[in-house]
């Protein structure tokens, strides 16, 4: 993507390359922030529809501008820093959350050769960055100097570390089939038609990945770090104004990222479901698949009641860990003894 823009601009000189890179970053980040704003709206609409309410419908046509109105409201509010807070860390935490939510998108391929960076270890990069996400939460909880916030932060630390383990094992299963850590290769391995998508052979681990992604992004039913019924708002309790908005944006950007990762790993990335439909550009298919993933996230929020904390831990360590470990052995055995291993290495 950077190379294409570089050639478009003339293709000479280090400065132009830098400009091309900035342009590529903006071309991903600006639509992403717009998408985050609208995904908040869609989340609320879906949630409302399940509960037979109208949802936001006042600001703009069909309430489409509701998120922008909310953003403006937060922007105009006063930033309150608690007297007992550790000021620097308190202000750094939302920034870290927000930045980490954005930088993962650097490796997401929206179409063939349409990613800011095409890393050889792309999937590990995403795993690494998403495992850093816990710092925004744990730092905010500690720096707020508040019991509720601190409890929320501790919960979230334990929760995210637990579910990362099963996410890691799920990735291993897919990587056995692909033979590469590169996101482009993972998508190309599913080329052809809908029958080649990984969701069919890997359906059970797709489910495990989806549920772990819910826990990893602190979404209901695993939103214990911010469980309002018991912890008021968890780690966000002392935050107001833009600091809160950054947490909020980061959370939704992470949900979209997890939807994108699911689309890449299991739903064929930018490939059309049928060869006949290839005339539609790949990035439209990819955005559609992200939308599908987000729809699942929103529906789960509407359907499932919140887990209790010990149930969450039990599910992570006693159910998902052995199950995903079993599937690693199972798929590895099938691929090795079935002679299905990829032959690129």
């Amino acid at each position: 993507m950077v190379e294409a823009l570089f050639n478009l601009f003339g293709g000479e000189g280090e400065f132009l390359y830098f400009v091309a890179m900035v342009a590529a970053v903006l071309a991903v980040v600006l639509p992403l922030l717009l998408a985050v704003a609208f995904s908040v709206y869609f989340d609320r609409k879906i949630w409302a529809a399940v509960q037979m309410r109208r949802g936001p419908n006042v600001v703009g046509p069909f309430g489409l501008l509701q998120s922008f109105a909310d953003g403006l409201k937060l922007f105009l509010k006063e930033t309150i820093i608690p007297a007992g807070a550790n000021k620097i860390i308190f202000l750094m935490a939302p920034m870290i959350t927000f930045v980490l939510a954005l930088i993962s998108w650097a490796v997401i391929p929206f179409d063939a050769d349409m990613a800011i960076a095409d890393l050889n270890v792309g999937i590990l990069y995403i795993l690494a960055i998403s495992s850093l996400g816990v710092y925004g939460i744990i730092m905010s909880g500690w720096a707020s100097n508040s019991r509720y916030a601190f409890l929320g932060a501790l919960r979230s630390a334990a929760q995210m570390v637990s579910y990362e383990v099963s996410i890691g094992f799920v990735l291993v299963c897919v990587l056995i089939a692909v033979g590469s850590l590169n996101l482009n290769d993972i998508v190309e391995a599913q080329a052809g038609s809908v029958l080649n998508w990984h969701i069919w052979p890997f359906l059970p681990i797709y489910v495990i990945f989806f549920i772990s992604a819910l826990a990893e992004t602190n979404r209901p039913p695993f939103d214990l770090p911010e469980a309002e019924a018991e912890l008021v708002a968890g780690y966000q309790v002392e935050y107001s104004s833009m600091a809160f908005a950054l947490f909020f944006l980061g959370e939704y950007a992470n949900i979209l990222l997890m939807s994108a990762v699911m689309a890449i790993l299991f739903l064929g990335g930018w490939h059309a479901p049928l060869p006949v439909l290839e005339f539609i550009p790949g990035w439209i298919w990819f955005l559609g698949k992200i939308g599908f993933g987000f729809f699942l996230f929103a529906m789960v929020k509407a359907f499932v009641p919140r887990y209790r904390y010990d149930q969450l831990m039990r599910l992570g360590w006693k159910v998902f860990l052995p199950l995903s470990l079993f599937f690693v052995v199972f798929y590895a055995a099938i691929f090795v003894y079935g002679g299905l291993l990829p032959t690129n290495g």
Binding site: V134, I138, W142, D310
Partner: protein, 213 residues
Amino acid sequence: MDISIPDMVFYLFASITVASGVLVISARNPVHSVLWLILAFFSAAGLFVLMGAEFLAMLLVVVYVGAVAVLFLFVVMMLDINFSELRQGMLQHLPLGGLIGFVLLGELIALSVAWTFGDDVAKNAASPTPTDPAVTNTEALGQLLYTDYIFIFQTAGLILLVAMIGAIVLTLRDRPGVRKQNIGAQVNRRPEEAFDLVDVESGKGVSLPSKKG
């Protein structure tokens, strides 16, 4: 001055690593120390990337920054230790600590002078940084680890497993009187065994039947 961009980035990462390493031991607040330690890990990962070892860099971030340091931070935040009090005896212990450091440094120097590689090792040491651009760093590492060093690699894994089991055995205690949730029993409960429907005549009341199962 002829400094390329990779050089500049190297000096940036290297100085951040060293500076945050110093701040780990000099920060007054233990939580700040851990946060500086995380920054040190992170910039070390940056150094790995500069060396072309992107797989190691990502593993460093996933394992150390993403898991080990989180638990570290977790523990330090929970502990209520007055670290400034611990630090008061520092000048007193400085000679002993300095002596140990000095001995370690001497041993390392002696080792680096006297160390000789086996015949294969020199070849193996070069292979994780492949010259062939078609072979990725990840693949080269895997080919080395699972061939020449398979037994050492497996032994390392076994040692970690033993350490993990040991930690569990040491901390596991059987506390009497703790009621645990039996999810299987709860899910298998049927309405028939859970409640009775009783027709109560007005004015008579009802005596509770003895509790079932």
